[in-house]
């Protein structure tokens, strides 16, 4: 397995070069392809089996640090789509603990709980205690705001945050910003950041060098994926205008329980799988609700995201892994690598 993933990334770059389009040109091309979806991952990538089996060991070669994103644990959910979401979260944590390169921290992009109940948060904390990565960062999902406008979420996970739970921190030269777009949602709307948070965000970025890599994370996607299902954020354009001047911006979201990615200029957007249950592709079902899959396939459509950061290239490699190793013949869902760099 060792070397296979690195080989794959090298192969991808080679292929691009053989086309007569270098990576810079390729990324420009993809950016021109528009503000719509650039690609949806759906298995079938050569070596996706390698991704399933390892979890980024070789992409991490030369990486200065890595962290893992998990999302949508929905502790408390117990319907047919997954009667035991605590067990699948445990599987995700075991998988992270077993990674050959230790992540510096974990980011949970929201919907920690299903109904914002104390017992659900308690269970989540219990499982996360077993993570060898001791530092975990959170942002809330709409399911964490259900009983008390997110009061309990803030008490448990909101130390040092502002407003509904937004904050920023720096790690080895990378600036991370946790945004909350699930508070005070308006009838007929999608996700919302709100005026106060936008002001704070603009101020937070002031004075930072444009070569500082930026990672934004929020629950609901910060780009419009499917408005009918509320998959977008009404005022994200304004937020994204604040990061326009930076050379490398990575946006990590959850909420939709499937992987989607987009590159627009120097901004890479990525949504993660859930550790609880999958949801249908946009418009492919009557609603966005939990999607049942055969029990033996469940762990292939749930997963974690490993993000590797290379200081020298100022690039982040984002690698998704399903919870279960999948046979290449029947692989579906996750398994890809996105390597972006600043265009300099």
């Amino acid at each position: 397995m060792s070397g296979k993933k690195q080989d794959l990334i090298d192969q991808k770059l080679q292929d691009l070069n053989d086309d007569g389009i270098d990576r810079r040109g390729f990324l420009k091309c993809m950016a021109w392809a528009g503000t719509g979806l650039v690609w949806t991952l759906s298995g079938g990538i050569p070596g996706s089996r390698a991704f399933a089996k390892s979890s980024g060991k070789d992409a991490a070669k030369g990486a200065d640090f890595s962290f893992v994103q998990i999302s949508d644990s929905h502790i408390g959910f117990n319907k047919l789509a997954n009667p035991d979401v605590t067990a699948t979260l445990q599987t995700a944590i075991n998988k992270i603990n077993a990674m050959p390169h230790k992540p510096d921290f974990i980011i949970h992009t929201g919907d920690l709980s299903q109904l914002s109940k104390s017992s659900e948060f308690d269970t989540l904390d219990q499982v996360l205690k077993g993570a060898s990565a001791k530092q975990i960062y959170f942002v809330p999902g709409e399911h964490d705001m259900l009983t008390d406008n997110g009061e309990q979420y803030l008490q448990r996970y909101g130390k040092g945050t502002k407003g509904a739970g937004w904050y920023s921190f720096d790690h080895k030269g990378v600036h991370f910003v946790g945004l909350v777009n699930v508070a005070n949602l308006k009838a007929g709307g999608m996700g919302s950041l709100g005026h106060e948070q936008l002001e704070w965000f603009e101020d937070d970025l002031k004075g930072r060098s444009a070569s500082t890599p930026i990672v934004l994370f929020a629950h609901i996607p910060l780009w419009t994926i499917y408005p009918d299902w509320g998959w977008g954020t009404d005022d994200s354009e304004q937020a994204l205008s604040y990061v326009k001047r930076f050379g490398s911006v990575t946006v990590l979201n959850g909420h939709i329980h499937q992987i989607m990615q987009k590159i627009e200029g120097k901004v890479s957007f990525h949504t993660a799988m859930s550790t609880a249950f999958p949801q249908p592709a946009p418009g492919s079902a009557p609603s966005a609700g939990p999607m049942k899959v055969p029990a033996d396939q469940l762990q292939r459509v749930l997963g974690i995201t490993d993000v590797n950061y290379l200081v020298s290239g100022r690039s982040l490699a984002v690698i998704d892994s399903p919870l279960a190793d999948s046979d290449p013949a029947t692989a579906n869902g996750a398994g890809s690598a996105v390597v972006d760099s600043t265009l300099e």
Partner: protein, 118 residues
């Protein structure tokens, strides 16, 4: 009749009438009520059905969640607000004033509906 006799007779008459009224109050009240005015709204696949429901003043509307996902029922004007409703849970509200009440699910704000009270 003497005045005293009239007083007793009047009192007796009053009591008799009162007894008749109370005895008959059950059936009198029932026949005075309008036909069932309450309404149900179901939640299926992230949709309130029917999207607009019309009821008379004094009616009770009951929402029931058939989805695998919790929802809420929240008036956009702050008139009513349900607790979070998980699968098969209900929320009822009795409308005592005429008007048009727009509402939505605060968890999935694209879900909207209206209650018209006449």
């Amino acid at each position: 009749m003497t005045r005293k006799n009239m007083g007793i007779t009047s009192l007796a008459a009053l009591v008799a009438i009162a007894m008749l009224l109370f005895a008959g109050s059950g059936s009198v009240a029932a026949s005075d009520q309008p036909p069932a005015a309450n309404a149900d709204v179901t939640i299926d696949n992230f949709v309130f059905g029917p999207q607009t429901v019309t009821v008379p003043v004094g009616a009770t509307v009951t929402w029931i969640n058939h989805d695998d996902i919790p929802h809420t029922v929240v008036s956009t004007d702050g008139v009513f607000k349900s607790k979070v409703r998980d699968t098969d849970e209900k929320f009822s509200y009795t409308f005592t004033k005429a008007g048009t009440y727009a509402y939505y699910c605060s968890v999935h704000p694209k879900m909207t509906g209206t209650v018209v009270v006449k």
